[in-house]
Protein backbone atom coordinates (compact mmCIF):
# COMPACT_ATOMS: atom_id res chain seq x y z
CA UNK A 1 0.00 0.00 0.00
CA UNK A 2 2.96 2.33 -0.32
CA UNK A 3 2.68 4.26 -3.59
CA UNK A 4 5.45 6.03 -5.38
CA UNK A 5 5.31 9.09 -3.18
CA UNK A 6 5.23 7.11 0.06
CA UNK A 7 2.00 8.49 1.49
CA UNK A 8 -0.68 5.98 2.55
CA UNK A 9 -4.10 6.55 1.01
CA UNK A 10 -5.65 6.80 4.48
CA UNK A 11 -4.07 10.22 4.88
CA UNK A 12 -5.80 11.51 1.77
CA UNK A 13 -9.10 10.08 3.00
CA UNK A 14 -8.71 11.92 6.28
CA UNK A 15 -7.75 15.14 4.54
CA UNK A 16 -10.73 14.96 2.18
CA UNK A 17 -13.10 14.12 5.04
CA UNK A 18 -11.79 17.08 7.05
CA UNK A 19 -12.18 19.50 4.13
CA UNK A 20 -15.68 18.23 3.34
CA UNK A 21 -16.68 18.57 6.98
CA UNK A 22 -15.38 22.11 7.11
CA UNK A 23 -17.50 22.89 4.06
CA UNK A 24 -20.60 21.45 5.72
CA UNK A 25 -19.76 23.38 8.89
CA UNK A 26 -19.58 26.60 6.90
CA UNK A 27 -22.94 26.00 5.27
CA UNK A 28 -24.52 25.40 8.67
CA UNK A 29 -22.60 28.11 10.51
CA UNK A 30 -22.83 31.19 8.33
CA UNK A 31 -25.77 33.22 7.08
CA UNK A 32 -24.04 35.11 4.31
CA UNK A 33 -25.00 33.52 0.97
CA UNK A 34 -21.59 34.22 -0.61
CA UNK A 35 -19.76 32.37 2.18
CA UNK A 36 -22.16 29.46 1.69
CA UNK A 37 -21.23 29.36 -2.00
CA UNK A 38 -17.54 29.32 -1.07
CA UNK A 39 -18.12 26.43 1.32
CA UNK A 40 -19.86 24.50 -1.47
CA UNK A 41 -16.72 25.04 -3.56
CA UNK A 42 -14.70 23.67 -0.64
CA UNK A 43 -16.82 20.51 -0.55
CA UNK A 44 -16.42 20.01 -4.30
CA UNK A 45 -12.66 20.33 -3.90
CA UNK A 46 -12.58 17.77 -1.10
CA UNK A 47 -14.26 15.30 -3.44
CA UNK A 48 -11.78 16.23 -6.18
CA UNK A 49 -8.81 15.47 -3.92
CA UNK A 50 -10.25 12.06 -3.11
CA UNK A 51 -10.92 11.31 -6.80
CA UNK A 52 -7.38 12.26 -7.82
CA UNK A 53 -5.88 10.25 -4.95
CA UNK A 54 -7.77 7.08 -5.86
CA UNK A 55 -7.09 7.65 -9.56
CA UNK A 56 -3.35 7.80 -8.92
CA UNK A 57 -3.26 4.90 -6.49
CA UNK A 58 -5.35 2.63 -8.74
CA UNK A 59 -3.67 3.78 -11.98
CA UNK A 60 -6.95 4.67 -13.61
CA UNK A 61 -7.12 7.92 -15.54
CA UNK A 62 -10.93 8.01 -15.50
CA UNK A 63 -10.93 9.59 -12.05
CA UNK A 64 -8.89 12.55 -13.26
CA UNK A 65 -11.24 13.02 -16.22
CA UNK A 66 -14.11 13.13 -13.76
CA UNK A 67 -12.32 15.91 -11.91
CA UNK A 68 -12.38 17.91 -15.15
CA UNK A 69 -16.13 17.48 -15.39
CA UNK A 70 -16.56 18.47 -11.75
CA UNK A 71 -14.57 21.65 -12.41
CA UNK A 72 -16.81 22.51 -15.39
CA UNK A 73 -19.94 21.91 -13.33
CA UNK A 74 -18.52 24.04 -10.51
CA UNK A 75 -17.81 26.91 -12.90
CA UNK A 76 -21.35 26.76 -14.29
CA UNK A 77 -22.82 26.56 -10.81
CA UNK A 78 -20.86 29.58 -9.59
CA UNK A 79 -21.84 31.68 -12.61
CA UNK A 80 -25.56 30.98 -12.23
CA UNK A 81 -25.45 31.16 -8.43
CA UNK A 82 -23.74 34.53 -8.34
CA UNK A 83 -26.23 35.85 -10.91
CA UNK A 84 -29.07 34.72 -8.63
CA UNK A 85 -27.27 36.33 -5.69
CA UNK A 86 -27.02 39.67 -7.51
CA UNK A 87 -30.73 39.47 -8.37
CA UNK A 88 -31.48 38.80 -4.71
CA UNK A 89 -29.31 41.68 -3.56
CA UNK A 90 -31.00 43.97 -6.05
CA UNK A 91 -34.39 43.17 -4.58
CA UNK A 92 -33.64 42.91 -0.86
CA UNK A 93 -30.37 44.87 -0.42
CA UNK A 94 -28.85 42.07 1.63
CA UNK A 95 -27.27 38.64 1.22
CA UNK A 96 -28.66 37.24 4.44
CA UNK A 97 -30.32 33.92 3.71
CA UNK A 98 -32.83 34.34 6.52
CA UNK A 99 -34.57 36.98 4.42
CA UNK A 100 -35.37 34.35 1.83
CA UNK A 101 -37.81 32.32 3.90
CA UNK A 102 -40.84 32.34 1.64
CA UNK A 103 -40.15 28.83 0.40
CA UNK A 104 -40.04 27.52 3.96
CA UNK A 105 -42.85 25.14 4.90
Amino acid sequence: MQPQNGIPIDYYIWLAAALFTIGVLGVLYRRNAIIIFMCIELMLNAVNVLLVAFSTYLNDAAGQVFVFFIMAVAAAEVAVGLAILIMMYRNTKTTDINILNRLKW
Binding site: I35, N59, A74
Partner: protein, 168 residues
Amino acid sequence: MTLNLFYFLSFLAVLSALMVVFSKNPVYSVLYLIITFFTIAGHYILLDAQFLAVVHVIVYAGAIMVLFLYVIMLLNLNRESEPHKSNILKFAAVICAGLLLVVLVGSLKGTEAIVQQSGKAGIGYVKTLGEVMFKEFLLPFEITSILLLAAMVGAVMLGKSEKTNDTI
Protein backbone atom coordinates in the same frame (compact mmCIF):
# COMPACT_ATOMS: atom_id res chain seq x y z
CA MET B 1 10.52 14.51 2.56
CA THR B 2 7.28 14.08 0.65
CA LEU B 3 5.53 13.08 3.85
CA ASN B 4 6.64 16.31 5.52
CA LEU B 5 5.46 18.24 2.48
CA PHE B 6 2.12 16.43 2.69
CA TYR B 7 1.77 17.32 6.37
CA PHE B 8 2.61 20.96 5.69
CA LEU B 9 0.17 21.27 2.78
CA SER B 10 -2.61 19.48 4.68
CA PHE B 11 -2.15 21.64 7.74
CA LEU B 12 -2.23 24.79 5.63
CA ALA B 13 -5.29 23.59 3.70
CA VAL B 14 -7.30 22.72 6.82
CA LEU B 15 -6.26 25.88 8.64
CA SER B 16 -7.15 28.21 5.80
CA ALA B 17 -10.41 26.32 5.20
CA LEU B 18 -11.31 26.93 8.83
CA MET B 19 -10.41 30.58 8.41
CA VAL B 20 -12.79 30.75 5.41
CA VAL B 21 -15.61 29.78 7.74
CA PHE B 22 -14.63 31.79 10.78
CA SER B 23 -13.32 35.08 9.42
CA LYS B 24 -15.72 37.99 9.74
CA ASN B 25 -14.88 39.85 6.57
CA PRO B 26 -16.03 38.17 3.30
CA VAL B 27 -12.98 39.49 1.42
CA TYR B 28 -10.68 37.70 3.87
CA SER B 29 -12.74 34.54 3.34
CA VAL B 30 -12.11 34.73 -0.39
CA LEU B 31 -8.37 35.23 0.13
CA TYR B 32 -8.15 32.26 2.52
CA LEU B 33 -10.08 30.18 0.01
CA ILE B 34 -7.47 31.05 -2.62
CA ILE B 35 -4.76 29.77 -0.24
CA THR B 36 -6.76 26.57 0.19
CA PHE B 37 -6.98 26.10 -3.56
CA PHE B 38 -3.24 26.59 -3.98
CA THR B 39 -2.51 23.97 -1.33
CA ILE B 40 -4.91 21.59 -3.07
CA ALA B 41 -2.99 22.20 -6.30
CA GLY B 42 0.16 21.26 -4.36
CA HIS B 43 -1.54 18.03 -3.34
CA TYR B 44 -2.29 17.30 -7.00
CA ILE B 45 1.40 17.75 -7.81
CA LEU B 46 2.29 15.35 -4.99
CA LEU B 47 -0.16 12.89 -6.50
CA ASP B 48 1.50 13.03 -9.96
CA ALA B 49 -1.40 14.91 -11.53
CA GLN B 50 0.56 17.84 -12.88
CA PHE B 51 -1.81 18.85 -15.65
CA LEU B 52 -4.76 18.77 -13.27
CA ALA B 53 -2.85 21.01 -10.85
CA VAL B 54 -2.29 23.62 -13.55
CA VAL B 55 -5.92 23.48 -14.66
CA HIS B 56 -7.02 23.75 -11.03
CA VAL B 57 -5.00 26.90 -10.48
CA ILE B 58 -6.23 28.44 -13.73
CA VAL B 59 -9.91 27.60 -13.24
CA TYR B 60 -10.31 28.12 -9.50
CA ALA B 61 -7.78 30.73 -8.48
CA GLY B 62 -7.92 32.47 -11.85
CA ALA B 63 -11.58 32.43 -12.79
CA ILE B 64 -13.91 31.43 -9.99
CA MET B 65 -12.23 33.34 -7.17
CA VAL B 66 -11.97 36.47 -9.29
CA LEU B 67 -15.70 36.15 -9.91
CA PHE B 68 -16.34 35.85 -6.17
CA LEU B 69 -14.13 38.82 -5.37
CA TYR B 70 -15.76 40.87 -8.10
CA VAL B 71 -19.24 40.14 -6.79
CA ILE B 72 -18.22 40.97 -3.21
CA MET B 73 -16.77 44.30 -4.34
CA LEU B 74 -19.86 44.95 -6.45
CA LEU B 75 -22.24 44.28 -3.58
CA ASN B 76 -20.10 46.33 -1.17
CA LEU B 77 -20.00 43.61 1.47
CA ASN B 78 -16.58 44.46 2.88
CA ARG B 79 -17.87 45.69 6.19
CA GLU B 80 -17.48 43.79 9.39
CA SER B 81 -21.04 44.04 10.58
CA GLU B 82 -22.78 41.15 8.98
CA PRO B 83 -25.55 39.01 10.42
CA HIS B 84 -24.69 36.12 12.69
CA LYS B 85 -26.60 33.18 13.96
CA SER B 86 -27.34 32.73 17.61
CA ASN B 87 -24.86 30.86 19.75
CA ILE B 88 -26.98 27.77 20.19
CA LEU B 89 -27.33 27.40 16.41
CA LYS B 90 -23.57 27.75 16.00
CA PHE B 91 -23.01 25.12 18.67
CA ALA B 92 -25.47 22.80 16.91
CA ALA B 93 -23.69 23.38 13.59
CA VAL B 94 -20.33 22.46 15.12
CA ILE B 95 -21.79 19.33 16.71
CA CYS B 96 -23.41 18.24 13.44
CA ALA B 97 -20.20 18.78 11.48
CA GLY B 98 -18.19 16.80 14.05
CA LEU B 99 -20.65 13.92 13.87
CA LEU B 100 -20.43 14.00 10.07
CA LEU B 101 -16.63 13.82 10.29
CA VAL B 102 -16.87 10.77 12.56
CA VAL B 103 -19.31 9.10 10.14
CA LEU B 104 -17.13 9.84 7.10
CA VAL B 105 -13.90 8.62 8.68
CA GLY B 106 -15.63 5.55 10.07
CA SER B 107 -17.24 4.61 6.79
CA LEU B 108 -14.13 5.18 4.68
CA LYS B 109 -11.87 3.30 7.08
CA GLY B 110 -10.27 0.18 5.71
CA THR B 111 -10.16 1.42 2.13
CA GLU B 112 -6.46 0.76 1.85
CA ALA B 113 -7.18 -2.96 1.60
CA ILE B 114 -8.75 -2.54 -1.84
CA VAL B 115 -6.02 -0.29 -3.18
CA GLN B 116 -3.30 -2.31 -4.86
CA GLN B 117 -0.42 -0.53 -6.39
CA SER B 118 0.66 -1.54 -9.86
CA GLY B 119 3.84 -0.11 -11.21
CA LYS B 120 2.66 2.01 -14.11
CA ALA B 121 3.15 5.73 -13.56
CA GLY B 122 2.47 8.88 -15.49
CA ILE B 123 -1.31 8.86 -15.88
CA GLY B 124 -1.44 12.53 -14.99
CA TYR B 125 0.12 13.65 -18.25
CA VAL B 126 -1.79 15.50 -20.94
CA LYS B 127 -1.35 12.68 -23.44
CA THR B 128 -2.90 9.99 -21.26
CA LEU B 129 -5.72 12.20 -20.03
CA GLY B 130 -6.52 13.40 -23.53
CA GLU B 131 -6.68 9.87 -24.87
CA VAL B 132 -9.05 8.80 -22.10
CA MET B 133 -11.19 11.91 -22.38
CA PHE B 134 -11.63 11.84 -26.15
CA LYS B 135 -12.05 8.08 -26.47
CA GLU B 136 -14.06 6.92 -23.48
CA PHE B 137 -15.69 10.16 -22.34
CA LEU B 138 -16.48 11.91 -25.61
CA LEU B 139 -20.24 12.19 -25.06
CA PRO B 140 -19.95 13.62 -21.49
CA PHE B 141 -17.41 16.09 -22.83
CA GLU B 142 -19.86 17.38 -25.43
CA ILE B 143 -22.68 17.49 -22.87
CA THR B 144 -20.42 19.58 -20.64
CA SER B 145 -20.14 22.14 -23.42
CA ILE B 146 -23.94 22.32 -23.61
CA LEU B 147 -24.05 22.75 -19.83
CA LEU B 148 -21.59 25.63 -19.98
CA LEU B 149 -23.59 27.27 -22.77
CA ALA B 150 -26.79 26.91 -20.76
CA ALA B 151 -25.08 28.37 -17.68
CA MET B 152 -23.80 31.32 -19.69
CA VAL B 153 -27.23 32.07 -21.15
CA GLY B 154 -28.83 31.64 -17.73
CA ALA B 155 -26.36 33.98 -16.03
CA VAL B 156 -26.92 36.65 -18.66
CA MET B 157 -30.69 36.31 -18.41
CA LEU B 158 -30.61 36.47 -14.61
CA GLY B 159 -28.18 39.35 -14.46
CA LYS B 160 -30.10 41.43 -16.94
CA SER B 161 -31.99 44.12 -15.11
CA GLU B 162 -35.59 44.92 -15.76
CA LYS B 163 -36.18 47.90 -17.97
CA THR B 164 -37.45 50.13 -15.19
CA ASN B 165 -35.54 51.37 -12.15
CA ASP B 166 -32.29 49.46 -12.10
CA THR B 167 -29.80 50.51 -9.49
CA ILE B 168 -26.78 48.31 -10.16
